[in-house]
């Protein structure tokens, strides 16, 4: 989870400050061995004691809005010279980023942020920031992870996090819903949220007819431009204290209704993969389910990465036998459908995410280390790669040896499906192009994998020409 960037400040040995946790002077996350801590700095001492004493944290945690924590010994602080208090937040199943989320995941993350602000405001507090990186998915649901994000509300004060909320949440959601769902990937480039003037330009003109989008995106963008060089005007506005509690509530309510009003439905791209899995008949599909289940059982381990998971057919099989699954797919529609199903079923052990395996999440942000790359976060015991290799090898022209290297970098265990050239799906991939893949055979596949893995088991999927292999990485 934490990329090993060299520390810029003196630290106790054996511990490392999270490269993504350094902007907020009130405290930071660090890891010692396998435990995550959050140090509360002296500069935030008064606010922290006030916050703890108010009962707000308990209230947010009871509602499932804020991650739970326990107090930790002050002596364990990473920077004892700065520390006022120490807490040990619940460890996250997996760290993911907003550019890896489907529309519904980003939407739910936005709503939990607004819920936090609503609960805080009712208790006389307010959120100091509203960054999408303060939300993570835990047991399938979005939760706020920055316990220090709250401070006492000053009467009449404006919401300082309003700009950040609009750029991190509202702008990308509006672009995904009203322009194209692939706009979510823009968050990979704009790590501090999408600039509102850009969002305003890209959104269809019709969005100006939506009162929420007109206010919070279009007019907001114009106000930003107009007052860009006029900080005194902003400071003056704040000092006038015009944001009464009623106006505060009205603002948050408007943001909530605007987010809820954004809907996105897929155009059916996820069903292409369903065909991919059942083009050879229902009996063979069930045989594949059984084989996958057996191989997953045999492979053991706790954590499974399902690559090319689509709507999670095999993720569910892994979860049913007690595995924790991170399910990756290039299609935002498939991930969305998978996520909706997980929320509806109350599944807590699967996290679906969007990813192009041929262009996976790189290290981003400051020093390319603030947001970990895919490999930085690879902690799986087993990689499940079903109905995948032919897409990468043929559609994306990735040589089989490089695929083997990629799988080997992710996990020690591998369960992979080989789909040969005579399979209807591969014939379809080759239909409009020259067959430049003489090396795409089961023998070459075994040889390519054999460089990095030992083949432990192999079985044909009866009723098709496909086969499933279970492998263990060579040491």
């Amino acid at each position: 989870m934490i990329a090993a960037a060299p520390p810029a400040v003196p630290e106790a040995p054996g511990a490392l400050q999270d490269p993504g946790s350094f902007r907020d002077p009130s405290g930071f996350i660090f890891r010692r061995d396998d435990t995550i801590y959050r140090q509360v700095n002296r500069s935030f001492a008064r606010e922290w004691d006030d916050l703890v004493g108010s009962g707000l944290l308990h209230s947010l945690q009871a509602k499932g809005i804020l991650i739970r924590h326990e107090t930790a010994p002050l002596g364990a602080a990473l920077r004892p010279d700065l520390a006022h208090a120490m807490i040990r937040p619940e460890k996250l199943d997996f760290v993911s980023y907003p550019y890896e989320w489907s529309f519904g995941q980003l939407r739910d993350a936005a709503l939990v942020t607004l819920e936090a602000q609503t609960v805080a405001a009712a208790a006389g507090f307010t959120l100091r920031d509203a960054t999408a990186y303060n939300v993570q998915f835990q047991r399938g649901r979005p939760v706020l992870i920055d316990t220090l994000s709250f401070e006492r509300a000053e009467p009449g004060a404006a919401w300082l996090a309003y700009r950040q909320f609009c750029e991190h949440f509202l702008a990308p959601l509006a672009l995904m819903a009203r322009r194209d769902v692939r706009c979510g990937l823009m968050l990979r480039e704009f790590v501090d949220g999408i600039p509102l003037d850009l969002a305003a330009t890209l959104l269809p003109g019709r969005t100006k007819l939506n009162p929420g989008l007109l206010s919070h995106i279009h007019l907001h963008a114009r106000a930003q431009t107009r007052y860009a060089d006029r900080a005194e005007a902003g400071a003056a506005a704040v000092s006038r204290r015009t944001m009464t509690p009623l106006r505060q509530r009205a603002l948050i309510d408007s943001l909530r209704r605007t987010v809820e009003g954004l809907r996105w439905e897929s155009s059916g791209t996820e069903w292409a993969d369903y065909a991919d899995n059942t083009s050879y008949g229902e009996a063979a599909a069930l045989r594949k389910d059984d084989l996958a289940r057996q191989f997953l059982r045999d492979a053991g381990g706790e954590r499974v990465w399902d690559l090319g998971a689509n709507t999670g057919r095999f993720s569910r099989i892994a979860a049913d036998i007690g595995r924790r699954v991170v399910a990756w797919d290039i299609d935002p529609a498939a991930t969305e459908r998978h996520y909706r199903r997980i929320r509806a079923d109350g599944t807590t052990t699967i996290l679906p995410l969007v990813l192009d395996l041929a262009n996976p999440s790189p290290g981003l942000g400051w020093a390319n280390a603030e947001r970990g790359s895919l490999e930085d976060r690879a902690d799986a015991d087993v990689v499940l790669a079903l109905a995948l290799v032919h897409h990468l090898a043929i559609s994306r022209n990735v040589p089989l040896e490089r695929l083997a290297d990629f799988f080997a970098a992710l996990a020690p265990g591998l369960i992979v499906e080989f789909v040969p050239k005579d399979d209807p799906m591969v014939r379809r991939l080759l239909a409009t192009r020259e067959d430049v893949f003489p090396e795409y055979t089961i023998e070459a596949f075994r040889a390519a994998l054999g460089r990095r893995f030992e083949i432990v088991a192999e079985a044909p999927i009866e009723g098709s020409s496909r086969s499933l292999l279970r492998l263990q990485r060579r040491s």
């Binding site: 907020d24 100091r128 300082l160 609009c166 408007s254």
Partner: protein, 52 residues
């Protein structure tokens, strides 16, 4: 007085526009809040309602 631990830039335009938007929304929001409260109160008052 801006918060001492407001570490992010709130943005001048953002501070100004939210006051404008919130002021415009305040009355309709207040009315909606009151109507919702009324409706909840009426529902609770129905004889076949269990005590909350």
């Amino acid at each position: 007085m801006l918060s001492l631990i407001a570490y992010i830039d709130p943005g001048s335009g953002s501070l100004i526009i939210q006051a404008v938007i919130a002021t415009a929304l305040a009355v309709p929001f207040f009315l909606r809040e009151q109507i919702a409260r009324l409706v909840r109160g009426l529902r609770r008052g129905k004889p076949d309602d269990r005590a909350s």
